[in-house]
Amino acid sequence: MSTTMRRLGDRFDAATRGPRGRVLALALAAVAAVVPLALSQYDVDVLTDVALWSAIALGLNVVVGFAGLLDLGYMAFYAFGGYAFAILSTQAHWSLWACLPVGAAIAGGFGAFFGFPTLRLRGDYLAVMTLGFGEIVYLAANNLQITGGPGGIFGMPIPTLGRLSLGQPIDYYWMALALVALAAWVIGAVARTRTGRAWAYLREDETAAQAMGIPVLRYKLLAYVFGAVWAGLAGALFAAKQTIITPDTFTFTESFLAVAVVVLGGVGSLPGVILGAFAYIVIDEYFQAFTASYSGLIFSALLLIFILLRPAGLWPSRQRAQELGRSGLAPSRGERPDPGQGRGAGLGEAGAVPPGGGAP
């Protein structure tokens, strides 16, 4: 499934490049905006979830796909956005529009706060740290007074725009779609800047990037914070749509599923991860009728199969070739030039290097 998805994504990616591509992207966005008018409220609701998860996947893709950092606690930032809206709107009567930037800022701020001491760690340790961070945020939401404990917060007001009330499913859908469009546009643009190239560099070879004078820690932090912001925005929209937020919406399983969506959709490819989000929500909706645990089962199995079939690298070679400015010559990621090394799981500089090794 994911190979097909990736191929589709690649073709889409190629088609949306250049001025003609921009027209195509706009046309697609217009279709996405208009088509739901003909759909049932239930379908619109499902598509809203697709859009919200697309925003999540796009944001996480910055962290995982661009900078190559495995983040297992990404949904914590979703929680920051959601709770920011929930608390500010019910207690201070802020509007959604005021809460969105605040939610994004809080998510980004916590990203910086947590990322600064941890991002210098090697990849595997970073993964565990982010997992721990996600668990702490979950524990906090479950136990704090201000977050309403396990019952969460409910009764958020319906967002308005001037005199217009935005309480219909289609209204939420359009807001979520606008967020996806904004995310895809901004993230796509950033990826083509110096910053995007620096991310690709440190992902491919951190040591070399550092040797070339790229401030590795700063760029990792930037990716982490920039990625977190999108989860914050999506979380605030999600809370507004549900009018309730509970700790259950950002458990470890949710963070895992976000990673699975990005990896299966095609790490680093914007259309790919949107397709991944679509596939996830459709599968999740279908199995909701049985029991929620099946989506975890299916996606972990898919992820396992995928990784076993593509062990040499998750990054599509076309994308990498493009990033590295040559075609077909790029070695697959992490390919071991010296097979005599024999150091287990491919942690290149394993040996006596402590987990903090390699950073300034």
């Binding site: 972990s300 062990p311 090394q341 491919g346 942690l347 987990p355």
Partner: protein, 298 residues
């Protein structure tokens, strides 16, 4: 109050230590964080739970023997599962980059956890009491026979592991593989078989911990391995990952920290202690408490 907290800390700490040994063994050999260790712990608890009816007759006449049978079954089951996990999910990725094996182990973890949920259901299960839970008073400390058994079994397993790695040929082979796969292989050590053995031991120790938790605390859930796995990983890092005595020391320190902190902060926050410790250790002293002895990794 404090002596009681110390006792509680050592009890839960020995559980962390057992699970942490699984992380440390695999990390020592493959430099891989085996996320699946948390689910092997869960699977161990459930194997024991599912076999309780079968051993009911035995539990009536000789409860100690019933516990031994359950323990052996859980350890064997999870140990074999760990070997299978390695064969299926890690061995094909030995030469692949870190990201691949890490995602693979994560996928296995979630897969096993969800399989348990699908097979036995999401509801918590209640373990029958096989060992008395009536507390003995030893000075100011109250401990139950079940807790004594828990600590005794945990200590015995740790001692056995230490003896195995230090005193036997296979143990020496494990240490050799931990130092360098290729050199070990040239010395005639069957590296892959040694790796399988390592996974078996790690899974068996995790399963023992899961079963002991079930016997002692009475309730098990399909996602019990999430929190316990993370805490045990913290313990392994705290003691210096890849280091066997380190995992034990780290587990006991973490258990003590958690139970002592319960006297000053609300109990629902004690779980957060582990993560705070993990962040502090990795940020300040990533080698862990006993981490300097990198030469003696297994």
């Amino acid at each position: 109050m404090i002596p009681q907290e110390v006792a509680n800390g050592l009890i839960i700490g020995s559980i962390y230590a057992l699970v942490a040994l699984g992380y440390t063994l695999v990390y020592g050999i493959l430099r891989l964080i085996n996320f699946a260790q948390g689910s092997l712990y869960t699977v161990g608890a459930y194997i024991g739970f599912l076999l309780v009816p079968a051993t009911a007759g035995l539990a009536h006449t000789a409860p100690a023997l019933a516990v031994v049978v359950l323990l052996a079954a859980a350890m064997l089951g999870s140990g074999i599962l760990a070997v299978v996990v390695d064969l299926v999910a890690y061995r094909p990725l030995r030469r692949a980059p870190l990201f691949a094996s890490l995602v693979s182990s994560l996928a296995v973890f979630v897969l096993l956890e969800n399989l348990v949920q699908v097979v036995v259901g999401a509801q918590p299960e209640t373990f029958p009491t096989l060992i008395s839970q009536t507390p003995w008073l030893i000075g100011p400390v109250a401990v139950t026979p079940s807790q004594v058994v828990l600590v005794a079994v945990a200590l015995a397993l740790m001692a056995a592991l230490q003896l195995f790695t230090q005193r036997t040929r296979l143990g020496r082979a494990m240490r050799a593989v931990a130092v360098n796969h290729d050199t070990a292989s040239m010395m005639g050590i069957p590296v892959n078989r040694v790796i399988s053995l390592t996974f078996f031991l790690g899974g068996a120790l995790g399963a023992a911990a899961g079963l002991l938790v079930g016997l002692n605390y009475g309730t098990i859930t399909f996602n019990m391995g999430e929190l316990a796995g993370l805490q045990a990983f913290t313990a392994a890092v705290l003691g210096g990952i890849g280091n066997i005595p380190g995992a034990v020391v780290g587990g006991l320190i973490l258990g003590l920290l958690q139970s002592l902190s319960a006297t000053v902060i609300p109990t629902q926050w004690t779980d957060a202690i582990a993560f705070a410790v993990l962040i502090l250790v990795l940020a300040l002293r990533p080698r862990g408490v006993l981490g300097e002895r990198v030469a003696e990794r297994v």
